[in-house]
Symmetry: C3
Subunit: 139 residues, 3 copies
């Protein structure tokens, strides 16, 4: 069994946003030399997500609006977590909807994705440096 | 390390629905000859889910009603994604709640599930052919 | 390839609650002797979750309030599932938001977690014994 590990650093200029990280992950799989296995991709921070969906700008706006409805950022005082001096309680909630991680099969040395599947980093409390972990195991 | 890969084709006659795919996955694990490892099962399409819950018809109706409350199909014009000519923005949202994938342990050559755990395909934009990927690695 | 399996038994005295199980999982990884691989941690019951977030009491109260808003326990009669004699339909819904499982990388013999990542058991229908499965594969 082989394994390969890489961290991606992310720093978004805005509080929230989505970044397509599929090319970076595909490159990491190629580097690893692993032909068959599983690839875990996870946010290493608890106010961010890694998820798979469509690379379509309108949909990303829909996610932004929908997540604000389900877990609004304001008023900040509605959340107990923000009594700690943080203002990011909503980000911890939004991230549970969108998920921490994805596991993608590796087949014939490539990410085994469906036709429209793209891997995204979802940021809900940006303007700071954060990491994504890529861990591949297989042969 | 061994690996095994299989695709299941799904085609639901309705827009939304849930299908218990546990028997197909159990058969695939048996075919693989893998005794100990991990089994990834994921929707290859971004308006469908694979998730684990109870095989109880009342609960499935509850999921249907609840998901329509959280991310209603209509009015279609409320979603930017539908400006592309699609009418399935709600399906992309519902799938984030229900999830893309599950990872199940394989132990003694079998799916290592709890007493009531069953694996479902969740369709949110049906009436077309879609795939589920099963990838097993182990020994 | 090596594999290691362990079950954790949980029994919460209340209907809902969160328990930090990171120390138990870290100990299990150490016991396994696996230096590099993947660690699956999943609830074996369909009204409970395993998820990763912050060990902060205020945030856990926020989750409790938020999940009750998204999928209220009462009135019990609002859910078809409860016609079976159960009163836990809401727990099946809440668990979909919080998730069934996490997959964590194992690197240098340890859980490869970000600075604030902690693994929690989330109970939504407690006062009974339930299990969490830990399955580690690697080398």
């Amino acid at each position: 069994m082989k394994s390969h590990r890489r961290e991606l650093w992310m720093e978004l200029p805005s509080r929230r946003g989505f970044v397509n990280i599929t090319p970076e992950i595909a490159r990491t799989v190629a580097e690893s030399g692993i032909r068959d296995g599983l690839c875990l991709i996870n946010a290493m921070h608890i106010t961010a997500s890694v998820f798979i969906n469509d690379d379509e700008g309108g949909l990303h706006l829909d996610y932004e609006i929908w997540l604000e409805q389900l877990a609004p950022h304001e008023p900040i005082s509605q959340y107990k977590h923000n009594l700690t001096g943080e203002d990011n309680a909503d980000a911890h909630l939004k991230r549970q909807i969108m998920g921490r991680e994805v596991v993608v099969a590796v087949t014939d040395g490539r990410l085994d994705l469906g036709p429209w599947e793209q891997v995204f980093y979802g940021e809900f409390d940006g303007r700071r440096r954060k990491r994504v972990l890529i861990k591949i195991i297989g042969e």
